[in-house]
Symmetry: C2
Subunit: 440 residues, 2 copies
């Protein structure tokens, strides 16, 4: 038996993820030691109130309220407490004390990532964060290493399990939005305050992390265009289904050419979108996550799995702990974040995509030609039009029809101008729905 | 601009993968240099006959027939020539000369992997092989690093694109096996000698590589149970579809308890299997590959993408080149292969799975009870039975029926004994099909 020096692991937080990390470290310590070539010793767990964790199965003497003392002297600090502060200060302390850091904190990275990565590089410390996006699905390491010789063109991510669960129930069981949301809440897919999920904040944080990594560019959270699912209607989901689509909340990160300067930039956006049912993302059901990406050489790739859950997230944290531990045993400064490309982040107006526009129009000769003319005036080319009599709430005497129009690719700016003119038109009684169409 | 020391890359082979590796290195050298922190200089390409590569776009002066001289003095040797010899000798030379090696050679690794990994460990060299399984899909690195803190329970891989293409065409277009195979040949999905693909040899090599890595155990190629797709019939595919399944050639790697010793072992097998259409693997169409796995903490994960192709494979090779190059720049001996678990590889007889058995039986009272009795005598529990009149080629006067039986999990040994007794039974005119059912 080889004599190992034990590596000292400090754990910050013992919530649903932290308690699982502790359990895995304690239960599988021997096997992990063999993989690493060193023992992994959990030296303490910093929490606010140890009493609350008496029955957690973690030896009670490991708990401490003194995170600072725990951190100083640790080889690897695992931050799974969440929130911006004191997580930011504690991670900074850990790196300055010579420890490597493993974090699952997407909010912190999306907000203060650049500063933390810069500090890590200055100090020669490592900051691992596989668990911050899509829980157990390996996506950070594949982007950072496996695809390091390739060029990522675009990422479509379903990176929020709660909203995917809601949209999937609306689609599969023909549920109204509020009913699906209520079920998600009861089954624990949603927090009591669902804002972070349903308004797309959580997905936007993950999008910022993915885009920064994929494009070697710092993408600030504020630069991520964000729309949640609160405006997605039962009717939209049903009509999408009839047209062979499914509504998903997508995080889209892509390279884009700035039309004014002609220079390359990137665009990062989170919004509901129509995806063809036959697309691999169309088969991502329930609370699962998936990251679909297109690379210049590799072509399309998809990474699929559970996007949340304490033990799933703990798996990703442990993978990072093993990486950090191997670095301690085998030496070498590991991988630094790279923002060498430093591309501009372009506004949503420059995004080029397809749209599905649903209009209620008065049912008279010439209306279709008029509507088509509006699209054409704004250089938005129409791919398909489907007209049907409108079944809902018409007043007597005012026959209306529904037009479902799918466009070819157009800029967001052109589409917005088109919709504005349609809204003002007497022939159009309502612009009932505008959804981006992705993945065709 | 930072002054870089150029890293010297030697390329062995300039076929469909090698020529793309060279092109990517030559075209994207500057960008790769920024990611690595050092220039990547292609110093030579060893081929048998340089003349054949005059129009390859690779500068002609880079070609050489003297692989040995090229290797000595290189920092990173990329072996994409394929075959066992001289690839094995050249990789050995490369590592003894102090270079790291990147290879896409699955046959070599499945055959001589343990010896090569041992040599690498002795020498402190690195042997990268992401491209050897499933082309551009990152699977080696996720298994080796992302899931290093987890426990892989089972892998289901669709790791051969040619056979997946054939089976997918049989399923989607209701084609006979020979027609689908002919189309695959015409479209370049199959080699002129399709044996390696259709007999499952290629998938078995990849299964050995995946299982060795996932279970920290040396799995020799000879220990992989292998059945190809040559016995899969049009009728089986159609009947699977009607029952909600799809036939896939699966590489199954799993932990298993040896029933005689009670000790843990592993089982690795390649064979056609029924997979539920709703399973994520059921949506892997055409020539694509996917690796679906179940980990104790992470739960189910799937990695999906193109499983073949020169440029796709080159993407994986380049990712490994960047990893190797970073190691040269940043130091550290990287990751060694780990076979510490050293589990026994168990024979197929111990495998426990479900089966679909299709029987033609004489249509008389008592036959169903008799058949059920045979299953029961061998402790094979029946989950569903579907009986229908047999439409095909009965002689007059001998009415037959078709029984499609899906079992609960049973050992291969028990099922084999059951099938033997059914075959010998007067009530059974034919055991028309026996297929394993996976992924329920």
């Amino acid at each position: 038996m080889i004599e190992y020096r034990n590596l000292r692991i400090a754990l910050l937080g013992a919530g649903s993820v932290g308690s699982q990390v502790a359990a895995l470290l304690l239960e599988h310590g021997d096997e992990l030691a063999q993989r690493v070539g060193a023992g992994l010793e959990l030296v303490g767990v910093a929490v606010r109130d140890p009493e609350k964790h008496r029955d957690s199965g973690i030896p009670f003497e490991l708990f401490t309220t003194d995170a600072e003392s725990l951190i100083v002297g640790a080889d690897i600090v695992v931050e799974v407490m969440g929130g911006l502060s004191p997580a930011r200060e504690l991670i900074t302390l850990a790196m300055t004390s010579g420890a490597d850091v493993v974090t699952a904190n997407k909010a912190l990275l999306a907000t203060h990532g650049p500063e933390l990565f810069e500090l890590a590089e200055q100090l020669g410390a490592q900051l691992y964060y596989e668990a911050s996006v899509a829980a157990a699905i390996p996506i950070i390491r594949p982007l950072r290493e496996s695809l390091a010789g390739d060029r990522i063109e675009r990422i479509y991510g379903i990176v929020n399990g709660s909203t995917n669960y809601i949209l999937d129930r609306m689609d599969a069981d023909d549920l109204a939005a509020e009913d699906a949301q209520q079920i998600a809440l009861e089954l624990g897919y949603l927090e009591a305050d669902p804002t972070l999920d349903v308004e797309g904040y959580d997905a936007a944080q993950k999008a910022a992390i993915l885009a920064s990594l994929a494009f070697h560019t710092t993408v600030p959270l504020e630069a991520v265009h964000r729309e949640g699912i609160t405006n997605v209607t039962h009717e939209q989901v049903r009509s999408a289904r009839e047209a062979g689509f499914v509504v998903k909340l997508l995080a889209v990160c892509e390279r884009l050419v700035d039309p004014t300067s002609g220079e390359e930039g990137v665009s990062v956006r989170v919004h509901p979108a129509l995806v063809p049912r036959t697309h691999p993302l169309g088969a991502v059901h329930g609370g699962n996550n998936a990251v679909f990406l297109e690379a210049a050489a590799a072509g399309p790739l998809m990474f699929y799995g559970a996007g949340a859950g304490g033990i799933q997230t703990a798996s990703a944290v442990l993978g990072d702990v093993v990486s950090a531990a191997r670095r301690h045993v085998l030496g070498g400064p590991g991988v630094a974040e790279s923002t060498h490309a430093n591309l501009p982040v372009l506004p949503i107006a420059h995004v080029v995509t397809r749209y599905q526009v649903t209009l209620r129009v008065i049912d008279e000769p010439g209306v279709l030609a008029h509507v088509a003319g509006v699209f054409s005036r704004h250089d938005v080319s129409v791919e398909t039009v489907q007209q049907s009599p409108f079944s809902g709430g018409t007043e007597p005497g005012s026959a209306t029809a529904t037009l479902v129009i799918v466009t070819h690719t157009a800029t967001e700016a052109a589409l917005t101008a088109t919709v504005a003119e349609l809204t003002a038109s007497d022939a159009v009684t309502e612009v009932a729905s505008v959804l981006r169409v992705e993945g065709i």
